[in-house]
Subunit: 369 residues, 4 copies
């Protein structure tokens, strides 16, 4: 995920934008096919010093200016009249938003896959422990018997619902941005949008969305909810791993979970990664929500604040789900300790209702595919 | 909306919960039909000192304890053996969450209706000003010609998309909460859940969601996005209303928009209400996201933090949409000023592309119904 | 605290503002002493329908307009030429900000007192349990021996530092707002500011701070940090109260801590109140921080978003500290359980270092007074 | 600032921690002076593959484990009995927190210097334009005359107050962390703390602050307020730069402010950087506030969430202040346009009060030094 949102990938996505724009413009007769070929070729083989470009982009406040300049300079040497056709009709934000969406698309695939793997592991736990009794706890106090399968089924529904929300939001948001200076498609056309979107594997948008950011916000909040669903699992596992409960343990992983002061310790480091992400994510989503009331056709400050926050949300989600997958993959459950704690609480031991409920939830999950 | 989330309505919803629980329990043979009738009758006619009850609930940390005690005392006088059947099988959070969902359902209807009214007004503006040229502005600078109709169409798509997201999230979240102490339905059954949900006009949940709060979080973030979409419109109108631009003005409303120091002023007070809501909403959504990793079967602190934040979000959304509706309903557009500003910027005046684009967006909105 | 930030108190503070303005204006020769007396008298005895006024203020977007109108109407009957002198030179925000500061001043006194009481209770615990060994825990795992006194001393330093920061920030922020329409003191003077501030018990400001809100933001974040310091204590107590640890218990309080489903339970309801506040507070502070970049002389939306967030922060801080005080006041410590858990962890039992450290911290606290 | 919070600097700070610990331990007779010298020497000349170390640290959940292992391996070859003395008495978080404080100290110096430069530029503007009349605006509407000097003086007081708060908070927070596994200084002593703090140029803490994070939170919120104070200036300049107002313009900077679609445009790109930071900062502060209620002696997830958020806040503050400094350094003020807009608003032109007020504020700033 770090690679997906790294500078290399960003520059690659930006070059893909320019190449696709040229091809679509040529297909609609706005520029000559030969010009499009020259531009696409330049996008394919221009050598880019990514660090230098990033510095210039930070100074310029936009990636498009220095990148387009480089492309034009490269082309101008042999095709001086083509140079000016690079980026024709587009504006900086078209490039920035489309590149972000291409990164988000690659990131979304990773997230959906990780979340699916986590859900499958949770389903496995729910099934394996369908009848393992344990103490149900409320307000951090002993309450009444449940099964560990029921708890795992609850985790599963939470992660699965959050995964489906994220897929829905991402599908809605992953759209090409192309509108030109003020979003009128002046010098372009809806047909260019359609072609270019197909070329890049994004959906077209019925209007440019330069200052209409609900899609980005929806994706960001869905990521935060997904991280929170993972956080719920990590919260519970870290509590169950307390020495006095000793019901569940993260797998021993070489190089993880040790303590520099106490070599005997076995820290819930995977849970720590997830919980740390769950503390950071809500605020990042909030920053993106704060930027929604953007000015006029393209705002000042609001959308520029989004990309780093969104990238961090993708990275946190990926890190949290990956850490949780490792935790669940080798999770050690001590069913005897669960029984012991249940008996000690003296709240009865009939968890029959829990068994049936968990089965129902599992069946619902399996049915959904 | 203040009434929907007021204490009176909350107590009413809580009493509806108890009555529906009794009826569903009787229908499933868990208590006698006569007992259910006694309980439902008590819920219907018990006199409640709402302020005193609120104080006791705040002290107890839950509404259920003092309310159930009152119901039992009332019933015990004439039906001592029925008293204990009140709230049977349920837990405090069943009542609290279901009551919140009943309030949210009433609130959602108001929001959807207000958002629809705002969208219709925006569609009207987009249509009426389809060909009104104005200066498109980016990064707060003069950029290129658009039409006011295109801008209004963009506003429309933003509000409409946010309204549809909210409807989807609310439909998903508005579920009965019923699980008993640890969510196992011990002493109850899925059939009770089905009946009770139908009775109260909520959807049933496949598992109790005591510590799985993605539905609440999805509703909260959808409200924040909707408020942000309204904020985008208010931002633009307040900028267009600046004296030096003078392109749009809020309607004169008696008792609003005046200044205690400068009687000649005409303040964009409606926009102020919307923008203020747009500053507050992201943080409220963030608080709800922060509470997601809740402990065990029912957490400590996390879900108790949700209700006030969610209620405020509903109130802010309602207030913002209502204020925006009033602003749009009588919005004065000065097309001559728009033309003057466009000419002064010397960026050409061909906004032809904008006209067609706005029509497309409008058609999409109308098609969707 | 609800009363301090209630509508009644707000109206009272607003009337105090108008009376003090009249008196100071008269003392500086800007209006006649008799006029000031008439205005002050009207402020003292005008009957106000607070609910109706609140509605009008909400509609107007400001309290000043309907309140000043009422005052003028009341005075006009017998002193028509004085009526216009009400609010002379001031603007709506002067009244709104000053009233908020008067409320904040009353609120601050409550907070400082509650935080002091909590600190004293913590100091008492640190002293009483200076030598009570317990298991130190890190990353939710058994680590090495400490004393409960050391832990309590850490709690103490946290609450005490947060209390001192809050006092410092509040002392800095609690300033009179008086600037007139655009903050130039046109028609007024710095001498009026000095007099009026003295009259109201606030500090004067060297410039009006209509759109310079760092004082409000500093107060808000200091409250959030104080709530977080209380949250740290509540987090620990709720973990120590887990049945399997059983080291500490909230006092039994009639009407609190019970469970509607499980009468035997003893829930950490006081901790719940604190932890719930600690989830809500950061977001409220964030909303106030988001409003800082306000427009021109007096902004649109930003400052209007502050008052409800600040009031809620005061209420949450008061509620959290009050709940924590009750928890600490009757906190039951089971030193035998602490020893048992320590032995079971098999990490040695020498906590000698902890004793001396805690004494040092206590001495530091006592020295500071 | 990126370098200050970069991985190289972090590793350097961590090595400084280990060397200082060894020296202080030797000075207090806990280890042999020769051993300390060997350790310090290893810290000085060990070659570190920073990228590989960062990967291992991310996997381990802590930097200390892989770094200490490397040090021990290096030393073990020639001084096998010294190897175990590396990191003696300390815990991972001692190293992590102290390294963060060393980075924060370097970062704070940059911030204070940048903020001071911005304040001086603002003071210059306030002085140069003490008598330049302009239109004061409230709620984004023309209100009454002020001077540009008064507005600049307001900006100045805001930035200066925020700078002083930040200095105070940083001075309070920049403390050595040293406590060992559970913060008891077992195997160490307060004297080691004193020595080591002096060695590293940090203040000692009266108790280890592993799970008492008010200092970090105070620093973070002070940074957010400082960014907000810069954001207020940027908001105003970007509004004054609107073509229809044309009162102020960012300097032309090569490679900045251009538009990829409209070469004639002059975008307020410096303001954009500041405003974007002002949208992101509140949420980052909120994440740190959310982590305050940490568990027991050292928490799980809360403090691990702090470092990236704090680093980003420092970077945003530095970026925002630096961008604002460039904007102010060459800010073009069009006094004639200011006069024209004032006249057009027809609100009079007497700004005499403003002149005196601004002088007062300036004098206050100069007096403070």
């Amino acid at each position: 995920m770090l690679a997906v949102f790294g500078d290399e990938t960003l520059v690659r996505a930006a070059l893909d934008f320019e190449a696709a724009l040229a091809r679509a413009s040529a297909a609609e007769g706005l520029i000559a096919p030969e010009a499009a070929q020259v531009i696409a070729q330049a996008c394919a083989d221009i050598p880019i010093d990514v660090a230098a470009l990033a510095d210039e982009a930070a100074h310029a406040g936009t990636l498009a200016l220095p990148l387009v300049r480089r492309l034009r300079e490269r082309i101008a040497a042999r095709n001086p009249d083509v140079a000016d056709l690079v980026h024709r009709g587009a504006t900086s934000q078209d490039l920035a938003d489309t590149a972000l969406m291409l990164q988000a698309k690659a990131g979304s695939a990773l997230i959906v896959s990780e979340a699916g793997a986590v859900a499958d592991l949770l389903a496995g736990l729910a099934e394996a422990h369908a009848e393992t009794p344990m103490l149900g706890r409320t307000l951090l106090q002993a309450a009444a018997p449940i099964t560990f399968g029921l708890r795992a089924a609850g985790w599963l529904l939470g992660v699965d619902a959050a995964r489906r929300r994220f897929e829905r939001e991402a599908a809605d948001a992953l759209r090409l941005q192309l509108g030109g200076a003020v979003g009128t498609l002046a010098g372009l056309s809806p047909a260019v949008v359609e072609r270019m979107a197909r070329d890049l594997g994004l959906e077209p948008a019925s209007l440019p969305w330069h200052s209409r950011r609900d899609g980005v916000a929806g994706t960001a909040t869905a990521l935060a909810i997904l991280i929170g669903a993972a956080g719920k699992v990590a919260r519970d596992i870290s509590l169950m791993a307390q020495n006095e409960l000793a019901e569940a343990f993260e797998p021993r992983t070489p190089g993880r979970g040790g303590s520099s002061a106490m070599p005997h310790k076995r820290n819930p480091t995977g849970c720590q990664i997830v919980l740390s992400a769950a503390i950071r994510a809500p605020a990042l989503a909030s920053a993106i929500l704060s930027g929604l009331p953007q000015e006029h056709e393209r705002g000042l400050g609001g959308w520029q604040a989004e990309a780093p926050a969104l990238a961090t949300l993708f990275e946190l989600a990926d890190g949290a789900l990956g850490a949780l997958r490792e935790v669940l993959d080798g999770l050690e459950i001590d069913a005897a300790a669960m029984r012991r704690n249940l008996r000690a609480a003296d709240v009865g031991d009939d968890a029959g209702h829990a068994v049936a409920l968990a089965q129902r939830a599992l069946a619902e999950y399996r049915r959904r595919g």
